[in-house]
């Protein structure tokens, strides 16, 4: 039993950063953090969860950095953060399982026999797509085909990949993680990439270290490469 404690003590001696990170960014972030840890001899504590759940968590227990899937959450958390830095971007695309339903464009989603999975309005993707589709006056026709509402974008992609629904609109980076899925770019969304930004929290006790990690994340070429590797778009430097 006591074997569990030493690991705790050894990590106490090193400086450490707590980073609240959206679960969808887990793969690139784990890689980058491990590199950073090796180079700088510090401990990075990555706390994964849905972006919103993370917001709940960080309100309660403080920490150093917050990296939600979309910038929306940063608006919600504006009173808790100091500065934000774009790290990568995602674009909404049409996600299908295969050729079977002959879906080629947004208008095909309005057909009678189509089943769609959509994220709840509070999720970043849910809010964003509803907004855009409202503006283009496609929403009403598409809404009637929504079979199920899921809490996160991952869940809607899952539904498509398991064949429980025929299509969804999701972030390209999320959909790209699953090799079997077919992705169709949508003109309506193609020019509206959503930026993912990392924010330094007011509660941070290690602002200097946090800044160091942020710049490693946003400026280092290896970090950008890692993001690209997992399907995330890059952002123009500030």
């Amino acid at each position: 039993l006591w074997a569990l404690w030493p690991s705790l003590e050894s990590s106490q001696n090193k400086p450490s950063l707590t980073v609240y990170c959206a679960a969808s960014l887990r793969s690139p972030m784990t890689e980058i953090a491990e590199r950073f840890e090796a180079e700088h001899d510090i401990t990075i504590r990555l706390v994964f969860n849905g972006s919103g759940a993370l917001l709940s968590q960080l309100q309660l227990s403080g920490g150093d950095l917050y990296l939600p899937a979309t910038a929306d959450y940063l608006d919600q958390a504006s009173h808790l953060i100091t500065a934000t830095h774009p790290t990568s971007s995602m674009t909404a695309v049409l996600v299908l399982r295969g050729e079977e339903h002959n879906i080629l464009a947004l208008d095909d989603l309005k057909r009678e026999d189509i089943r769609l999975s959509f994220a709840v309005e509070n999720a970043a993707i849910g809010k964003f797509t509803r907004q855009v589709l409202h503006d283009s006056e496609d929403w009403a026709a598409i809404e009637k085909n929504i079979t199920v509402i899921k809490p996160t974008v991952n869940n809607t992609v899952e539904d498509v990949s398991l064949g429980a629904v025929d299509a969804t609109i999701a972030w390209d980076a999320v959909a790209l993680q699953n090799k079997e899925l077919k992705i169709i770019p949508l003109p309506l969304f193609a020019n509206k990439p959503q930026t993912t930004s990392i924010a330094i929290l007011k509660s941070s006790t290690q602002v200097k270290l946090a800044r160091q990690f942020v710049s490693y994340l946003t400026e280092e070429e290896s970090s950008k490469q890692t993001f690209r590797k997992y399907g995330f778009g890059s952002v123009a430097a500030d």
Partner: protein
């Protein structure tokens, strides 16, 4: 024994028992207080008046009750046969029963989704077959019940097996000599003696069903007014960073379920204390 005052040699025993038990009870109380500390009176009354919450409250109680009745219906015969009969494959079944307990609930939900929608292929799936018959499970109310049922039946069976294992078979044997067949001996002799255990298992199943949300989110979704139950509402509130909302629904859940459970337990203890 309750009339004799504890002597000095018993004090350490009573003391340490109350200390250990009291510490855990204190932890539970603190947890509720912690949860309540985020509550404001307005969010609480708002929550109580929100039609969406009331709707999901109704759905929650209905599905949990349905699934725990189903769970008892399956787990009583299952645990009885595991306890009384020695048959081939018995220990395999006993082991399989741990799967829903061991697996993270979310995997159970995912497996159900796969089972209904992509086996053997998504064009030929069970769900398509059902849709052809004019019904649907996935993303509809039956999915909630099935997800709850899958998990709580295992808990109820485990709990009931302890009950049946401890009931002596002897009275059942005597009933056989008096002309009972095995079913009558089970029904008239074993089952009534197991009644407190069955009540406990049923309440455990019901309570466990209330707290379930992982598999429901995946297999039934969280479509407002259609498949949203209280536990999924809480999850959604937390997922939008709305802690006061989540606290309010949690407290509603705690209050209603604990009072229901206490009432049932009270009624149960009255009937068994003949």
């Amino acid at each position: 024994m309750k009339h004799l005052k504890p002597t000095r040699s018993d004090l350490p025993f009573y003391g340490s028992i109350s200390l250990i038990g009291g510490a855990y009870v204190a932890l539970l109380t603190l947890l509720v207080l912690a949860c309540a500390s985020f509550l404001t009176w307005e969010t609480f009354t708002e929550t109580l008046q929100s039609p969406a919450i009331l709707q999901s409250l109704k759905l929650t109680f209905l599905t949990c009750t349905a699934s725990s009745i189903l769970a008892l219906f399956v787990s009583v015969p299952l645990s009885y046969s595991l306890s009384r009969f020695r048959f081939r494959g018995r220990s395999v079944i006993d082991t399989l029963l741990d799967i829903p307990i061991v697996l993270p609930p979310i995997v159970v939900g995912l497996s159900l989704l796969i089972l209904f929608n992509s086996l053997p292929s998504s064009e030929n799936s069970l769900e398509r077959l059902l849709n052809g018959q004019g019904t649907a499970v996935t993303f509809h109310v039956p999915a909630i019940i099935l997800a709850q049922f899958t998990i709580i039946t295992a808990f109820a069976t485990r709990s009931l097996k302890v009950t049946f294992d401890q009931l002596p078979e002897r009275t059942e044997h005597i009933a056989l000599t008096l002309g009972c067949n095995r079913f009558q001996a089970f029904w008239k002799i074993c089952l009534p003696q197991a009644q407190p255990g069955i009540l406990a298992a049923g309440l455990l199943a019901w309570a466990r069903a209330l707290g379930e949300f992982g598999p429901i989110l995946i297999f039934a979704g969280a479509t407002r007014g259609k498949t949203e139950v209280l536990s999924t509402s809480i999850f959604l509130e937390i997922n939008t960073g709305n802690l006061p909302g989540a606290a309010a629904i949690s407290l509603v859940l705690i209050l209603l379920s604990l009072s229901t459970i206490s009432l049932l337990r009270f009624l149960g203890s009255r009937t068994s204390n003949n």
